[in-house]
Structure formats: structure tokens, C-alpha cells
């Protein structure tokens, strides 16, 4: 175990891996935030974690079948994401990295928007203003500066620290352990500190930046990364959805109330591959993955809820709910049309631009010159899609013959479809 992972660093945790609940006195202040939760909230946390994992497994299967260009699994990080997502206030803005499917779920993003992007229909496409959940950022760390700029805007607008909950706002930005090495993250911590922005940096330390362990990204634990800039930090057990909720809620409240930026390091683990193009067996051991599976965020909440008397019916219902979601997104993915080529040109500029107009006019004429015959690439795509649809409807007619079975054993395992043991298909 590296220094990063040593037990010597204080870490906020309310639910142990065994599902035992306690509020240690040193975390009493955070524990207060749990009083905001009703029983329904606990159940919602579970249901959403289970849903997003089922979604994740289905997306992996879709990628394996060639329906997505790539998938980016977040399996293992549901506690960090669902907890923090619900800790964000209703007026706050969220700047994700590219693995925050769970956070997206908590803020009403249509999960199909994420699949569209990974199928190659567009580069995002949800409305970041209306949802307050900004677009995924693929250039690592770039979003942290946008978040800080946005938070500066909140400050200039005086939209914080007024005590009016309907008016005050804060910003949360998500960043991974690997991305903290990017200069933009340091610059955003600096700008946040200098401007005392209403902002929280939520660092999901999932231990691996593709194949590089966190120890190769930092010598000092990441919760301390902001200290030198003037951004205080705290480490939480990111696999404890309650700690993630409470600590996020408190620091978002503090930020919204004018106490400046803070950093949360959520210690978690990327159980799956970096993306479906990755092969973790090349760089990490099975033992390590198994050790982390024993700290799974969903299993521990399940244990806790069962101890509280929540019956099997609820868990069955959640599983059925997840399967329904998986079925829906599968059908919707197959039905996604190829976007019209005009989309390439449409949004490059907000105002008319002669070069864009000229090239779109040329391409329109060129495409039209094929008259009746469809463009070769479109034809090929349609053939592939028709075949896939046939397979899909066959599977729907006969649930026993699940054509995803080779990839996904639907045994109810929490790790359906994960290629933790290898399986790059590239």
C-alpha cells in the first residue's frame, strides 16, 4: 500500500465496508448533514447506484457489440457520484469530467445523451444551462477552469452569500486523480483561491490513470493538493455514499455561503477498465481489484438497508428497474439515426461565416449529385443497423435467448459485464 492508500490519513466514513453505520465524533459536523435525509433518500441512493451500474454494464455490452464507439465505465465509483450528486444544491452548477454518469443521473440528464456521444452522434448535446450539468470534458482538467470562471461570475453577480436559498449558487467540478497533474487544475485552484470563488473541487481518486497508479501522479495525498494555493481539503471514503453526500452538501453549503473554495478527495476505485479500449490485467493484480470489490459502495449500502429492515422486495424492484432501463437504452441506441451532415457545419460559429457556408453548400450539392443512390457510407451503416435490429427484436421476442449473454451473465452479480480481467477488443 502506498502512502496514498495508508490508513493513517483521516477519512470521513459513516458506513463501513460491512455496512455498519456510525458517526465518529471527529466527523460530527458532517454527520449533521445526514439529518437532512429521509428514509426515502436512502432508498433513492441505493436505487440510483444500482440503476447506474446496470446502465454501465449495458453500455459496455453495447460497445462490445459495436453499437458504441467507446464506453467509459464508472463501476465502483457510484458511491462517490450518487452521494456527491445529491449533495449539490438545486441552483448549483456541475462541471463534470467524462466519467460522471452517476452525477448526471442525479441531475436528470437523459442517459441517452451520454450514449449518443459515445456512439458518435454528437459531442454532448444536452442543454448545460437548463440542466446545470455541463458537458463532459475530454481534455483532462480543462473543465476546472471553466468551473472557476463560472464561479467567478456567480461572485460578480452577487449570487451567493445572501442567505437566500432560492438565489444563492455554487459550483462543483469533478476531476480524476490523474487529471490533477494537469496544469489547468493547478491554475484553477489558484484562481479559485485568489478570487475566493463559491466552489468545490471533487477529486475522485480511483487509483488509476489508465495504467498509471496514483503514486506516479503525486507524492502528496491529493486532499492536500489545494493547500499551497489556499484551498483546504478533506479526504472521504468515496465508496461510502453517505460520506460523499454529507461532505459534499456541507462544502457546497459553505461555498454558497461565502466561505470560499474547498477540495474533497473521494478515495474510490475504478473496478472496470479505463475505457473499453483498456486492458487492466496488463498493469494491476486481481488481488487488488478483489480487495476493492470488498469495499463496494452498493453492497455496503445494501447491507445497511437490510439491517434496517428493508426487505427483499425493494431490492428485487431495483433490479427490475435497472433491467427496464437497460432494455430501454438498448432499444433507443439501436434506433439512433445517423445525424445529418449539416450538423457538422451548424454550430461552428454563432454568427454566419462565409467559409462554413461555402463548404456546406458544396457538400450539399455533392451529396445531391448521387441522386437516388444513397451515399456509400450511409448504405453500409444501414445494413449493419438492420442486422443489429433483427438481432435485437429476436432477443426481445425470446428473453431466454439473450444475445448479450456471451458478454453479460445476468446472474445478478454486481459486476456484470466488466472486463476487469481483460478483454480489450481493439
Amino acid at each position: 500500500m502506498s502512502e496514498q492508500d495508508s490508513g493513517n490519513i483521516p477519512m470521513v466514513q459513516f458506513l463501513s465496508p460491512e455496512g455498519e453505520f456510525s458517526v465518529p465524533s471527529q466527523w460530527a459536523e458532517y454527520g449533521e448533514y445526514l439529518k437532512r435525509l429521509t428514509e426515502a433518500d436512502y432508498l433513492k441512493f441505493y436505487r440510483d447506484m444500482a440503476r447506474i451500474r446496470r446502465f454501465d454494464n449495458e453500455a459496455t455490452a453495447l460497445q462490445r457489440q459495436g453499437q458504441l464507439g467507446l464506453w467509459i465505465p464508472a463501476i465502483g465509483q457510484e458511491g462517490a457520484q450518487i452521494g456527491s450528486g445529491y449533495g449539490v444544491g438545486r441552483n448549483d452548477h456541475i462541471f463534470p469530467s467524462y466519467r460522471e454518469h452517476g452525477v448526471a443521473l442525479t441531475h436528470g440528464i437523459d442517459l441517452m445523451s451520454i450514449l449518443k456521444m459515445l456512439r458518435g452522434v454528437n459531442h454532448g448535446g444536452w442543454n448545460p444551462d437548463a440542466t446545470r450539468f455541463h458537458l463532459y470534458a475530454i481534455v483532462l482538467g480543462s473543465q476546472t477552469l471553466h468551473a472557476t470562471g463560472y464561479a467567478m461570475g456567480i461572485k460578480f453577480d452577487g449570487a451567493y452569500a445572501t442567505g437566500n436559498a432560492d438565489h444563492d449558487q455554487a459550483v462543483i467540478c469533478y476531476v480524476g486523480d490523474g487529471a490533477t497533474a494537469e496544469g489547468d487544475v493547478s491554475e484553477s485552484l489558484l484562481f479559485a483561491a485568489v478570487n475566493q470563488t463559491p466552489q468545490v473541487f471533487f477529486v475522485q481518486n480511483n487509483q488509476w490513470a489508465i495504467s498509471s497508479p496514483v503514486a506516479s501522479q503525486t507524492r502528496v495525498p491529493l486532499y492536500r493538493r489545494g493547500e499551497g494555493f489556499g484551498v483546504p481539503g478533506i479526504r472521504i471514503d468515496g465508496n461510502d455514499v453517505l460520506a460523499s453526500y454529507a461532505v459534499t452538501a456541507k462544502h457546497m453549503d459553505d461555498a454558497r455561503n461565502g466561505q470560499g473554495p474547498a477540495l474533497i478527495e473521494a478515495l474510490t476505485y475504478r473496478i472496470g477498465a479505463h475505457t473499453t479500449s483498456d486492458d487492466p490485467t496488463k498493469y494491476r493484480s486481481n488481488e487488488e481489484t478483489e480487495r476493492w470489490k470488498a469495499r463496494d459502495p452498493i453492497i455496503r449500502l445494501e447491507k445497511f438497508l437490510r439491517n434496517q429492515g428493508v426487505g427483499q422486495g425493494f431490492f428485487d424492484d431495483c433490479a427490475a428497474d435497472g433491467d427496464k432501463l437497460a432494455e430501454d437504452i438498448r432499444a433507443q441506441t439501436f434506433a439512433l439515426p445517423i445525424p445529418p451532415f449539416e450538423n457538422m457545419f451548424k454550430y461552428v460559429y454563432a454568427e454566419p461565416h462565409p467559409l462554413i457556408e461555402e463548404q456546406m453548400a458544396w457538400l450539399t450539392e455533392y451529396e445531391a449529385s448521387f441522386e437516388d443512390e444513397a451515399h456509400p457510407s450511409t448504405q453500409l451503416h444501414n445494413v449493419i443497423n438492420e442486422e443489429a435490429l433483427r438481432d435485437h427484436s429476436a432477443a426481445a421476442e425470446n428473453p431466454a435467448r439473450d444475445f448479450t449473454q456471451s458478454q453479460v451473465e445476468s446472474s445478478g452479480s454486481y459486476y456484470d459485464g466488466i472486463d476487469a480481467n481483460g478483454g480489450s477488443n481493439v
Binding site: G125, V139, L145, G153, V194
Partner: protein, 327 residues
């Protein structure tokens, strides 16, 4: 009667900025040393005193941070104007400019507009140390999603900075730093042209010189010298480098049949290259000689004692003019 005032380019940019900041409190000006000092070239002088920290402020010395936070502020509804202290210091921000600012409208399918202006003092001729005299405009003109402009005189500077701020797209605003103190009349009432139009500054019928930014003055000198020798040169100031007003250039070439393109930037894969290619496409049968480019050499910008020989002067332009006439 229009209201004219004589001012230098630096002052004209300042006046244009001030007008927009007065009009709209969402117009922000920030960068390194732009507040009390007024920037290292004093372009923003006096604005901090008038508008205070709310609208103009200094940032940490972190160019990526400046542009990245400008993007976030634009998402929030602000219209940020940022200053890169020198051309050679823009590169720490290159990623935020090209992968984020330029693509945000496209990525968000039009949800985000990016009314961000990045002011860049550029070009050589001031005897500076390394990284203070460069012409990086082609990098940005090559990037879809950005607009790139460069005024060459006070009237354009005054109006183009305002038009850039009004634009809902990101605008790279290249300021010819060795001409900052060059004076000229500014029409305070009426803008001369739309932001992306070129302009014929000197009419002629034998050779067209297309140029922009700091080289406009040199091209006008060349036209003057040529006129004394009985050669009639038309000088076109491109003003906008992305998009480029090819219509105006082609129209001029149809008249003169000869084109020389002049810039401080090295010729290889440059604005000049693009103009030459387009003219070959659109005015091939009107050309009476190959298109020639006069630019900096394809070397790192030299030490100050060599810049006089690096930068094209009127003689270098006229040498090219002689060649196209002799063809």
C-alpha cells in the same frame, strides 16, 4: 458632420473598450497587469480608475487560467476581453483557446455562445528579447470556431475592438504592437466596415499588394515609392484573417493581374499561403504572373539586432513587385 478625433492605435483600442464597458457592465477586461498599470503597453490605461475591480482586474500570471476562466464567465453571460501580455506568451493558453474556446459552441450544439475577445499585441520591430516579437496568427486562423482580426490604423482599431466585443463568437484580436503609437483620425460616429471586410487603402492598377497589421504601413510606403517610379500599386488591408474577404482580393487581382502578399509572419503555411491558394482558384485566368509572398524567414524570430533584416521592408516588397512585373 462626423465627429473626428486624432489618436494613436493604443488609445483608439482603449477608447473602443471603454465605450463597450460603459454600454454593458457584462463586458469585462482582465489579464496580467491590465488594472492600475494599464497593461505593459498601457492600452487599458485609466480604465481601472474609471470602472474599478468589478469590470477590470489583474489575474495571476497564468494564460491558460485567463482563457479558461473567460470561457466559464462567458457561460455565465459575461463578455470577457482578455489580454495576452505578448504574442510569445499565448502558448500556455493555446490548449484552452483551440480545444475549448473554439469548440464550445459546436460541442454544445449552440447552447453556449462564446463572446470572448483575446487581445494579443503581436509582431516585431521593437528591439525586444525573445518571445516578444512573434506573429502566431496562422495557428488561430487554422482553428475552426475562432475569428481572427488585426487592425492596422486607429480608426479600425477603435471600431474593430467594439465589433469584436459585439461578436457572439470568440475573436482573436491581434494588435500591431510596433504601430501602437501611430496616430490617425478616428471617426467617432460611423464604423468604416463590417468586422470581416478587407479594404483597399491605396488604389492602383498594375500590382496588388495584400497585407495586414503592422505590414500595412510598409506596403503603403512601397506603393508611394513605386508611384514615384511610375508603377501603380493597389494596397489591400485584409483586416480580417479568419474569415478572409477573398472577394475584395480577387476583385483587385482581376484588375491588376498581379499579386504580392506581405506579412511579418514566415510564409510557410501562412495567411499568405491561403490567400495565394484562393487567388489561384478564383482568378487563375486573370493572373499575369505567379503570386509572390514576402514574409519573415522560416526561422525563429531572431535576436533584436537582426530583426531589421528579418522583417520585410518596402525594398523587399518592391523587389517582389519588380519580379511580378518582369514576368
Amino acid at each position: 458632420m462626423s465627429n473626428f478625433q486624432e489618436m494613436a492605435i493604443a488609445r483608439a483600442i482603449n477608447a473602443g473598450l471603454r465605450k463597450k464597458m460603459l454600454e454593458n457592465p457584462k463586458v469585462l477586461m482582465f489579464g496580467e497587469d491590465v488594472a492600475e498599470l494599464g497593461g505593459v503597453f498601457r492600452v487599458t490605461e485609466g480604465l481601472h480608475k474609471e470602472f474599478g475591480d468589478k469590470q477590470i482586474f489583474n489575474t495571476p500570471i497564468a494564460e491558460s487560467g485567463i482563457v479558461g476562466t473567460a470561457i466559464g464567465l462567458a457561460m455565465r453571460g459575461y463578455r470577457p476581453v482578455t489580454e495576452m501580455q505578448f504574442d510569445g506568451f499565448i502558448f500556455p493558453a493555446f490548449d484552452q483557446i483551440t480545444t475549448q474556446l473554439a469548440k464550445m459552441a459546436n460541442r454544445s450544439e449552440g447552447h453556449h455562445k462564446m463572446p470572448v475577445v483575446i487581445r494579443v499585441p503581436y509582431g516585431g520591430g521593437i528591439g525586444a528579447v525573445e518571445h516578444h516579437s512573434e506573429s502566431p496568427e496562422a495557428y488561430f486562423a487554422h482553428t475552426a470556431g475562432l475569428r481572427v482580426v488585426s487592425p492596422s490604423n486607429p480608426n479600425d482599431a477603435y471600431w474593430m475592438i467594439q465589433q469584436a466585443i459585439d461578436s457572439d463568437d470568440p475573436v482573436m484580436f491581434f494588435e500591431p504592437k510596433r504601430r501602437y503609437w501611430q496616430k490617425g483620425p478616428v471617426n467617432l460616429d460611423t464604423p468604416p466596415l463590417p468586422l470581416h471586410s478587407a479594404r483597399v487603402l491605396h488604389e492602383g492598377n498594375q500590382v496588388t499588394i495584400a497585407t495586414y497589421g503592422p505590414m500595412v504601413t510598409v506596403a503603403l510606403q512601397a506603393a508611394q515609392i513605386a508611384a514615384e517610379e511610375g508603377v501603380s500599386i493597389e494596397v489591400i488591408d485584409l483586416r480580417s484573417l479568419s474569415p478572409i474577404d477573398f472577394t475584395s482580393i480577387v476583385e483587385s487581382v482581376k484588375k491588376t493581374g498581379r499579386l504580392v502578399i506581405a506579412s511579418e509572419a514566415p510564409n510557410f503555411v501562412s495567411i499568405s499561403s491561403e490567400v495565394a491558394a484562393r487567388v489561384a482558384e478564383q482568378a487563375f485566368y486573370h493572373l499575369q504572373a505567379p503570386v509572390l509572398r514576402v514574409g519573415g524567414f522560416d526561422v525563429p524570430y531572431p535576436a533584436a539586432k537582426l530583426e531589421e533584416i528579418f522583417l520585410p521592408d518596402a525594398d523587399r516588397i518592391l523587389e517582389a513587385v519588380d519580379r511580378v512585373l518582369a514576368y
